[in-house]
């Protein structure tokens, strides 16, 4: 398990308990900044710290080690990116493709017009 995944799990449990980072920090005798570092994966907490965290939010917590994370599908990856950056966030024609690169793009129907029209649609929506 990586620090970010663990941090997200702790953050979710805290939110479910209806507590702020400052609440948990006060109960643990630490600072809100320390909790923020743990929840954002910048610090990997020890088992003892996770135990104190669970006690602070008043909920027992199960963490399973030695299990590979669920493989992320291509569709899921795409969805995650599009949710934040929108569709067709990258226009290959902005990179001034060489003639063979242009031929390659056109062979797959990735025309300049397709990306330009998407851009127009996005800006008119915004």
């Amino acid at each position: 398990m990586d620090a970010l995944t663990l941090g997200r799990k702790l953050a979710r449990k805290r939110q479910e308990a209806g507590l702020t980072q400052a609440d948990v920090a006060a109960r643990m005798g630490t600072t809100q900044a320390a909790i923020s570092k743990i929840e954002s994966g910048r610090v990997l907490p020890s088992c003892l710290v996770v135990d104190r965290f669970a006690r602070a939010i008043g909920t027992p917590m199960e963490i399973v080690f030695g299990v590979d994370p669920r493989p992320v599908s291509r569709e899921e990856r795409r969805r995650r990116v599009e949710r934040v950056l929108g569709r067709d966030a990258f226009n290959p024609w902005d990179r001034d493709p060489a003639p063979v690169e242009a031929e390659s793009l056109l062979a797959d129907g990735l025309t300049r017009e397709r990306f330009e029209s998407q851009r127009v649609t996005s800006s008119s929506r915004g």
Binding site: E76, V81, R83, A89, R95, V100
Partner: protein, 200 residues
């Protein structure tokens, strides 16, 4: 490693409808015949780790084609067009921008594709590469490099070894401050957006 396997993989690439898969098949074919293992970097690696949102224009490979291998590539259907080797049947343009990857070779991932294997830069090193590129305009979260780094982070955050990323940036700050400091800034900008997105 064999020429006949390379031909087989290129034939598969010639009829493969999926663009990303076609790029990987060509990479796997070249792996069969080149003396130095070519490693997929750049846009194709970005597409692999982001679910195909980047839309690369060519296949960037770290590696080296020796003068003796030029005839071999031509016999496989590649033609030299400027900085590219173009495979007309699969419509894939291949470029060798660097001989070695800027990163940890032990993190290179080998993926089965068709009847071959393609070697791809590790996701952590791809993220660092995008952050390095974002240093041209490190405070701009909307530069293409910053958005590319964010796309990798969003799509693959569980797989990125963030401690390795932090360590590499820290080492660059120490050894090469003119690069390391803007890398730190660009990473901070991208990471802030990643965490904001994960909170939603």
């Amino acid at each position: 490693m064999s020429v006949s396997r390379a031909r087989e993989l290129l034939a598969q690439a010639g009829v493969e409808p999926d663009r990303l898969q076609r790029h990987l098949l060509v990479a796997a074919a070249l792996r069969e015949v080149l003396g130095r293992e070519p490693i997929v970097v750049g846009g194709t690696a970005e597409d692999l780790y982001t679910g195909d949102v980047y839309v690369e224009t060519d296949l960037d490979l770290c590696g080296w084609v020796s003068p003796e291998e030029h005839d071999l590539l031509r016999s496989l259907g590649f033609t030299q067009e400027g900085r590219h080797w173009f495979h007309a049947r699969s419509k894939i343009a291949v470029e060798f921008p660097e001989t070695t990857i800027d990163g940890d070779e032990a993190r290179v991932v080998r993926r089965a594709v068709g009847s071959g294997i393609a070697a791809v830069i590790g996701v952590d090193d791809l993220y660092l590469d995008r952050i390095r590129q974002a240093t041209v305009d490190e405070r701009n979260p909307d530069s293409e490099a910053a958005r590319a780094a964010l796309a990798v982070a969003l799509a693959s955050y569980e797989e990125i070894d963030w401690r390795y990323v932090e360590r590499l940036i820290k080492e660059t700050e120490r050894d090469n401050p003119p690069l390391g400091k803007p890398m730190r800034t660009a990473h901070r900008v991208v990471r802030r957006r990643l965490l904001a997105a994960l909170k939603r």
